[in-house]
Structure formats: structure tokens, C-alpha cells
Symmetry: C2
Subunit: 629 residues, 2 copies
């Protein structure tokens, strides 16, 4: 009995296109020896659609296209994800009842079984963390069971299918149903008890996160072994977004044997139709195990970004891109990435010097362009900035040096890059990294603008690593000049930021990258209270992951440590939030990207009582001559 | 027995400030004859905090401040909202278990009763629509009951309190628990059955929405009457936000008698400490009924905006504001609103003419400034726009007339207003309305920029109405010149938008305002499929609310109707989304504001199969000479 995994690319919000692709795959499989054909979760509508779920016409359309797929099933048994609508019931919001549903069809009809109220199965565990909003739109099996006054266990029943002369009991799972470690209710062992189950099938729509596949292999492999049943994980590829945050879907669909062996692994970020026999899953030969690629390295980050940028350009119809290049690392890495995706002929690099830009960085920008084979033009900002200062002065408005820095940044992006991008027939990039975005070390309508912030989920040290990786592996040449890596990072907006004098950003990336990461990415978010406690306990480095001894070298006294901590915490929870509200969409890589993934309110800055008390104690000890711990 | 309602202002994310205020109110009540003192839902932490709930230190801080309030209770019985943490359990996301909780305290300790697992009560119904994300952070009573393998009814128990020598059974409700119409589980009748209940108390944190109080009075009054028990609704005032969308909280706390009479109604948008006796609630005299203000009119919109703008300025520390004034209605209304809030001396109006601006509108802008008593300066954009065109040309980049329109818009906002605002010591406003924001009829980094889009939840006709209202009621003078209302709305960015020739926006507001509202604000969202069906059924006007007969006057043929419909649908679901992602925060007024309230993905444009089939049929009928319906 042969099972095919259709690791297809899903176009979110386009049931017509997705169904058409599924119909093509079904036709392709019809005259093979495939018996069971699996599509991902929400393969008809896509998953991250915002409030499009509130359009009844869209739901009818999903049903229509789902029916076309069912009708086409023929002798194949097909399984796919779609929204399941119960037009007779409502959700808690008063809108029609919707389920995130698992459909199985054969011979033109849906397969159903006694004891379950619908001709489809329902997602049991619905994620409501990070980018996920399942409870906003869908009624879970848990909620349905409560409504029916039944234990949820009673609804977790296998689906009986007849394929290739055999009757199989299938455990139907949707994505989160397999990630049950944090839930009291665990669908796989319950299905096993209600079973026995011949095969678990997990239809997923699971976004890429650095290192997630490694974890998934541990979790799902153990799950198959514990259940002593094969488990097939079917994921889609493509990009989907919540507006502010764009996710890539890497596929990496996998078949696990009854002992948890990995017997089939689809390529990341690639459409594939792979097959494996049920017999091999049940009686795996040791030689048929396949290695699982590691997904924690800079190569995985590059693959995610390269795929995400390519797809986002395709989806928005962009074929030409303008990149402002300063000679610094962020814009160099952005230019190298886009040149690789679009071809150098479709890029226009623009260097926009002012009197504060050194010939060092100007020359680096030009060398980068030459190396990439991109056209590069110089459009200086001096004349326009002078005009702005003059016009302000005439109106009695005096601009401080700091204000003049922002004038320069806005002049570059909103005046030059936006106009140049329109004339070039495309858009311009936002080259911001996560470190500066965390604390708003960027100018709104200036360098914090653009159609996409492709690097804004990378800490500064990851941007450097990505630059090295592209030089070594993608271009196999020093495309990004070595000096771009070695000069001091600087905005070059004033004489105080003169790179030739070694002056630059106020951020000490080898420390602040890790401090900021603890604010944003820790599952249990760190705050000044935690950080100060770790500092005095001597466990700061192990908790945030920076180089041992670095904090005490940077901050000779506890008050130095505290003033740095408070400075950045104020910016992260204050002006940084205001700026992120108007930031471009961020391409997600990490376990927590800015935007819809990390939700935030523009609220007053707060320090906890514990923090304030600890701080007061430490400062008074310091001032009293008692050495700090 | 006297009950006090503390309709307090809550500062979101500042448990220290909120607790300090509660402690002051407790002190104030201690030496009065008040027995029971009620604070709103989440009165310690605030409610819309984004993912701050993921910081364990913040949760500890909320507990700390909650304990301070409990300790201060003394002989008062106090009830308040706070996060309830169970440090031994986890939520489904693996983080610590959190409840949206109702605390009652007396004599320095929490009041608890047998049969309930916590020393606080828990929200039963958690909203997950519009701006609400309750399931993301909190475990509901429904979920807890399922975990405990109990019917939820078993946990909906009255709280027994002893006050003024009496024992009362209190039905403890949190906000949505009272809005149970769309839920299968209805806490009030269940509590009554488990009761009898002497008094229902609903602690709320309920944002203002136009017309919501009218509905709430109907729902809550009926609820009290059906339960034959008094019901007290305690709401906070203030502003809270989700980043992209800012909500005002109007208070309007109300006490309902046992027959549903309104016996006490606190003022909207005002801190108040009101009291009423239990006896009056149980035996209301007909003369003690109070009138409930209508909240559907333009006066309510003004009150919401005036309060929201004032508080947002206070919270962000802004005391000076720059408004770009064009002579059109949007900027005139914005200027009049901010001048009222801040005083004219704290406003700087800037007119930024180009060669396309008529003397008509330039003069109107100056008359507005004179009427308001604001300083107004002219900063023309011609020289800078010319410089940009020249620089682009030198770089071989040709700008089309349409591109040159955007250059002007960006020059005004990002070059002039942003610099002027910094020099003036404040921020600049975004004057966009909801009609243009819906379809992206605005320029990113141009007129779609600013620190706050205060009018962006008003349709164009509401902006006009607000202008008239301010002239008549707020200023009692023609502050906004009559001609501002009568000239054709226009961006004046090209000769094609010459107001003196009667040329202006492509939007026909008396129709498109209502078309767009049906896309955005209908609970069951309208799409081209619905709209085309209504059009041919002759029910379009009644469904969308525009003037009868207007659509057929505007669109002589069905293909005219369709091409207009598709044009705006494409912009609403296409470029409009991309632009809104980077838009300023919107102050919410309606039942659906852009931002976090209306969540959206930047996805490909879609038309349903039903729509396409209907369209094809109608077009072929039209072309075949069959008259359209």
C-alpha cells in the first residue's frame, strides 16, 4: 500500500489556485500505484488569512473548491485540510461555526464514521501563541466536546478507511495536535487507547522557525515510538503572513516508522510528491533510515531568507529592487541577498553621501556594487538637507544636531529611495537588523522604511555571519569586501560617528545582542528584575548567552550595569514600540519576530517593585563602600 | 448597605500607579458609610498589554500590588480585577497559568468559599474577536472546568460576603460574562439557578464603540430583570492600545435595579466615585430612575476623540503638535480638534503649497489658522521637489506624473512636517480618514504618516459631520470656514486635481463610504459576491446604507458597477493592506477599526467562484442586449 505526501506550495487566500494544484496532483497520482494521497493542513484556503475568515462568501468558496477535490478523488483515498463549516451553528462571536478540519475522501464522497458528528475531523489543540490566533476563528474539538457535554476523549476516534483491500484505522491529527507536550489533553495516546491505530497522519501548516525541525523530530519520533505506530507529517511550503510578520513554510514533511525511525524526509522549501509504503513504515529496514538535516545553522537562516524574499517578491509582483548602500554590513548583506534572488541586473544600488560619510565607506559601497555586478549611483543629500535646514530656519524652527541626523535619514529613504524605486519600477528595501529595531535605533520614514525588512529578525552578529556565509558558500568569492566586516558599525550621521576615528553605534553588539534577545525571545521573558538578579548571582552570561566575563568588563560597577540596562529597557518598551508600529513587515526567522508574533502595546515604561528594591539595595551598598557581589 | 463604584482611570502596564490610586480611593471611603467598594476588571495591571503577560516578573508585580490592596481593605469589602496566577500549573503555551480574575477582600484577606479551587473568581467567557486576545493569555473558567472534568455550571457559584450585618450571595462576573447572547453557556442564569443571587457585579474593562452602551443597556437591563436581581456594571476610563489601534474606555458604569431600571449612571470619560444603596436597587422608586445618554451621535464621536487624543498626548508626553493644513476638511478638523485639546498656542500649522495648490485652499488654510488663533507658516515644497526630480534625472531615473504626486506627498510629511515637529518640540498628526485608508488612497511616508491617525476610524461623511459639530457646539463659531465644507475634496497633487475646476478625489464619498463600510464593519463581511447579488436583487442600498437610487445613478450599466466594485476591492485587499501595515496607530471609534481590530494578511487578491460566475452571466446578458435587472 503506497502513501504519497504532496508537499505542495499553498497560496494563502486563493482556494481556486490551491484546489487547481491539488486536482493536478490527484490526476498525476491516478495512474500510479499510489493508494493514499496526503495534502497539508488548510491546503484549500491557506492558514494565515487574518479576518478573511469572517467573510461568508469566502467560506462558501472554500467549500466549493473542497467539493471539487472530493469529487475528483476516484479510487484514490485523499486527505486534505480545509475549513469545515457548520452553517447551523455559531461560534462564540456569533459568526458561523468554523472548524480547522481534516477531510478524507474516496470515490467522490467524504469518508465518515459513526460516532463523530461531522463528515470531517477537527483540530483538538489550537495554538494561540506567537503568530497563531486559532481560537479567534475556529471551534476546537475540545470546545465541541464541552458543548456536547462529552469528555474530549470520546470524540478522538480513529477514522476507518479501506485502501488496497485493507481496512486501516487512521489517527487524524492537525499540526498542534502533535505538539501536545504543554497540553493536559494529548491526542496521540488517547487515539491509541481508542484505537488501535494503524497509522497517524498529521496534516500541518507549520512555519519555519530556526531549530524547530530538530525539536519536531525529537517530539514526533518519540510519539510514533510510544504509540508503536507509523506517523506521517505533511507540511506545506510557501509564505504566509499576518501583515506585520511574514513566515516561510519549509515543508520538511517526514514519515516516521513504528520505532520512531525517519524513513522519508522531503526537502526544505521545495514542492515534492514523495511516496512510501505502509509496509516499510511498519517493518522498516535499518538501511532505509534517512538522516535529518540540522536546521539551527546560518545555512538554514539563509535558506529561509532566500526563499522568503523570493516568494514575497513574486507574490507582490516585484521584479526590481532598490537598495540604499552605505558601505556598512546591513546594506551589504541585503544587497548580496537580493542580487542572488533577482539577479544583479534587477538591482539598483544607491549611495547617498552627506558630509559625514567617509571615503572609506563610500568606496566600500562601490566595491560591493562592482563585485555584485550591480549598477550603483550616487545621489548626495547635502543640498536637500541644507534646503530643509534653511526652510526650517526661515520658519523660526531650529534643528538640534540630533534632529539633523534624522533629517538626513529621512531624506535618504523617503525622498530619494522611494522616488528612485518608483522610477526603477520596483520597491526599496529596509535593511534594519533586530538589534536596532529592538531599541528603535533607527529613524521612522528613514532607514526604518521599505517594502520588507528581510534582515529584521537577525541580531547583528547573525547579519555578520550571514555575510560571511554568502561570501563563502553562495558567491564563493569576497563579494562583500573584508573591510565591511571590520569597520566599526556606524550610522555616519554626525562627526561623532566617524568610522575613520573608530567611532560608531552606541550598541555593543556582543553584549546587547544577547541582552535584547533575553527581552524578546526567551519563552519566559526577561525583564530588568530578572537580569539584575542574574547579574548579582553571577549567572547573567549563562542565562543570556553572551561571552563569559563580558558584562563585568563593560560595566565596572553595578550602577554602570544598571544605567545601561535601564537605558535600553526604556527604549525597548518605549520609543521602540512606537517606531515598530509603523515599521515594514518583518521576515520571521527566530522563535519570536517583531510584529504580530511579538504583540505589544504602546504603554508607559514600567519597572517592577522587586527590581526597584533590589536596585536601591545595590546602589546603597555601592555608595556605602560595600563591594557589590 | 451602601455600594460604591470606583470608575477609575487605569494606566495600562503600571500596577504601581493603579494600586496607588486604589489605595487612595480605599482611604477616601474608609471613613464614610460605604460598605462595598467596586473597582473595574484588571484594575491593577490594565488589560490590553500585548505580550507583557509573558513576563513572570510582571505577574509577580501584579500579585505584589494586589496584595497591598487586599491588606488595605480593613472593614470595607472591596472587589477588584487582577491577573490570578497559579504558579503550579501551566497554560497551553507552557507558560504559567494565568486567569482574568475577580478578587474580593475584607479585613486584609481574600474572601473565598468552599467548592471553588482559587481564592478568586475566574472569567467564564473570554472574547477572542476584534481587539481581544483573551485565550492567548488567560485560562477561562470553561477550560478549567473541562480540565477538572466538571460541567462549567459546577464552578459558577455565588460568592458569599458578610457586609453591614448581612450575608449576601454575589454573582461575580467579568465583562464578557455579561455579553453571553452568542454563547451556549450563559453565566447569569446559571448563577441564578445555583443561587439565589442577591447582587450581580460585573467588573469590566470595556472599550468605547459607537452605539455600544445603548446595546449594553438593553442587554444588561434585560438580564437584571430576568434574574430578578440587581446588577452593577463597573467600567474603567482611560486609553489602552494594541500598538496599531488605540481604544478609549468611557466608563459609563451603571447600576440596574431588580426590574432592569437604570438607577445610577456614571459620566462618560470621567473619573467618578458614585454610590447607591442595595435597598434602592432592590426596591427602586420610580423617581430614582436615571436617563441613559444616547451614544450613537456625532457628539459621542467627538467625546471619544477628544478624550482619546488628550490621553494619548499625555501618555506619550507630547504637549506640542504640528498639523499640516491643506485647506481641505480632514486637516481642518484635525487642527480644530488638537487646538481644542492642547490650546492654539501649542499648535503649529504648516501649509506646504506646490504649483498645484490653488489660492482658494491656501487662503482657507490661513483663515482656519486665524480663526483658531494658531501660528501658521508656509513652507513651499517646489524647490525640493524640483531638486528631487533633477537628481533622479541625473541618475537616469524618470518619474511619471503619478510618481511625482507621491514625491510631493512624501516631501511634505517626511521632509518638512517631521523636521518641523522635532524643532517645535512635538510630533505631527496623520489626518487620514477611513475612506482613503480603506483603499490606500494616500502616500506611505507622505500623508499616511504621523504619530497618531485620530480621524482614521471616521468615514469621510463623519469627518464633515465632526467639522460641523465642532463649529456649532465646541467653538460656537465658524472656526472651520464654510468653504472648507463646500469645495470638492482633492489632494491637489496634479493639474487633474484642480479644485477651482471642480476636480478632485476619485472617491464618490456618498457611495464609497458605504461600500467600504460593508467591506470592513459588517459583522458578516461583505465581498463582491454579496454586493453584486444585492445589486441585482435591488437590495444594495438597504444592505449598505447609502442613499436609495444612488448606485444606479452612478453606474448606468452593470459593467460600470462591476468595474468600480472590482477597482476598490483590489485596492482594499491589495495595496491598501500593504500601506496599512506601516500606517500610524488608529484611534478606534467604530465597531471595526483598522489595525489590530481588523487583522489582515498581505495576500493575493481573490474573487470567489460564485462571484465570477454571476459576473460572467450578467456581462453576457448585457452584451446580448438583455437588460440588466
Amino acid at each position: 500500500m503506497l502513501i504519497a505526501i504532496a508537499q505542495m506550495e499553498i497560496t494563502p487566500g486563493r482556494p481556486d489556485l490551491n484546489a487547481a494544484k491539488m486536482l493536478r496532483i490527484i490526476e498525476q497520482c491516478r495512474h500510479t500505484n499510489i493508494h493514499l494521497l496526503l495534502f497539508p493542513e488548510m491546503s484549500i484556503p491557506g492558514y494565515l488569512l487574518g479576518d478573511t475568515w469572517e467573510q461568508p462568501a469566502f467560506l462558501r468558496d472554500c467549500e466549493y473548491w473542497g467539493n471539487q477535490v472530493v469529487k475528483a478523488s476516484g479510487n484514490l483515498c485523499i486527505m486534505f485540510g480545509n475549513v469545515g463549516v457548520d452553517w447551523q451553528k455559531t461560534n462564540d462571536d456569533g459568526r458561523v461555526r468554523k472548524y480547522n478540519a481534516f477531510f478524507a475522501a474516496q470515490n467522490g464522497v467524504l469518508l465518515r464514521s459513526d460516532g463523530f458528528p461531522y463528515p470531517f475531523r477537527i483540530k483538538t489543540l489550537q495554538p494561540n501563541y506567537r503568530e497563531f490566533d486559532d481560537d479567534r476563528h475556529f471551534c476546537s474539538l475540545r470546545k465541541l466536546a464541552q458543548e456536547m457535554r462529552l469528555p474530549a476523549e470520546n470524540l478522538l476516534l480513529p477514522l476507518s478507511i479501506s485502501v488496497d483491500g485493507r481496512t486501516l484505522q487512521v489517527g487524524c491529527l492537525l499540526c498542534e495536535d502533535g505538539w501536545s507536550d504543554d497540553y493536559a489533553l494529548k491526542p496521540v495516546p488517547i487515539l491509541s487507547q481508542n484505537g488501535p491505530i494503524d497509522l497517524f497522519i498529521n496534516l500541518s501548516c507549520s512555519p519555519f522557525t530556526l531549530g524547530k525541525n530538530n525539536k519536531r523530530h525529537r517530539v514526533f519520533s518519540r510519539m510514533a515510538r510510544d504509540a508503536a505506530a507509523p506517523l506521517i507529517y505533511v507540511n506545506n511550503i510557501g509564505i504566509q503572513n499576518n501583515g506585520k510578520t511574514i513566515y516561510t513554510f519549509d515543508g520538511c514533511s517526514t514519515a516516521y516508522g513504528i520505532n520512531g525511525e525517519t524513513l522519508l524526509h522531503c526537502q526544505p522549501f521545495s514542492e515534492q510528491l514523495c511516496s512510501i509504503s505502509l509496509e516499510e513504515l511498519i517493518h522498516p529496514s535499518p538501511s532505509s533510515q534517512v538522516a535529518v538535516p540540522n536546521d539551527i545553522g546560518i545555512d538554514s537562516i539563509f535558506d529561509c531568507l532566500e526563499f522568503g524574499v523570493r516568494r514575497f517578491l513574486q507574490q507582490t509582483g516585484l521584479t526590481k529592487i532598490v537598495v540604499g548602500v552605505s558601505g556598512g554590513i546591513d546594506s551589504a548583506v541585503a544587497a548580496a541577498l537580493y542580487a542572488h534572488v533577482l539577479g544583479p541586473e534587477n538591482l539598483l544600488l544607491i549611495n547617498m553621501p552627506s558630509r559625514f560619510n567617509s571615503s572609506t565607506t563610500i568606496n566600500l559601497a562601490h566595491r560591493l556594487a562592482t563585485n555584485l555586478g550591480c549598477r550603483c549611483v550616487d545621489i548626495p543629500i547635502g543640498e536637500s538637507v541644507e534646503l530643509t535646514l534653511r526652510q526650517m530656519e526661515s520658519a523660526g524652527l531650529a534643528l538640534s544636531p540630533f534632529m539633523q541626523e534624522n533629517v538626513q535619514a529621512r531624506d535618504r529613504s523617503s525622498r530619494i529611495l522611494a522616488a528612485a524605486a518608483a522610477a526603477f519600477g520596483g520597491a526599496f528595501t529596509c535593511n534594519a537588523n533586530k538589534s536596532e529595531l529592538t531599541v528603535g535605533y533607527c529613524t521612522l520614514y528613514g532607514d526604518e522604511s521599505g517594502f520588507l525588512a528581510a534582515l529584521a529578525d537577525l541580531w547583528k552578529h547573525q547579519v555578520y555571519a550571514l555575510g560571511h556565509y554568502m561570501n563563502q558558500r553562495i558567491y564563493a568569492a569576497e563579494i562583500i569586501p573584508a573591510d565591511v566586516f571590520s569597520i566599526v558599525p556606524s550610522a555616519e550621521l554626525s562627526a561623532e560617528q566617524d568610522v575613520d576615528a573608530g567611532k560608531g553605534d552606541p550598541l555593543i553588539y556582543p553584549y546587547h545582542d544577547y541582552l535584547f534577545r533575553s527581552f524578546v525571545e526567551r519563552w519566559q521573558r526577561a525583564t530588568p528584575e530578572d537580569l539584575l538578579q542574574w547579574y548579582i548571582n553571577g549567572t547573567l552570561e549563562e542565562n543570556i548567552g553572551c561571552e563569559p566575563g563580558l558584562p563585568s568588563r563593560l560595566f565596572p560597577s553595578v550602577s554602570d550595569f544598571i544605567s545601561d540596562l535601564e537605558r535600553w529597557w526604556r527604549l525597548y518598551t518605549g520609543m521602540g514600540v512606537a517606531k515598530r508600529i509603523q515599521a515594514p513587515p518583518v521576515l520571521a526567522v527566530s522563535r519570536r519576530a517583531f510584529g504580530f508574533d511579538h504583540r505589544e502595546a504602546q504603554n508607559p515604561i514600567h519597572f517592577t517593585q522587586n527590581y526597584l528594591q533590589l536596585k536601591e539595595k545595590l546602589i546603597s551598598q555601592q555608595n556605602g563602600g560595600v563591594p557589590h557581589v
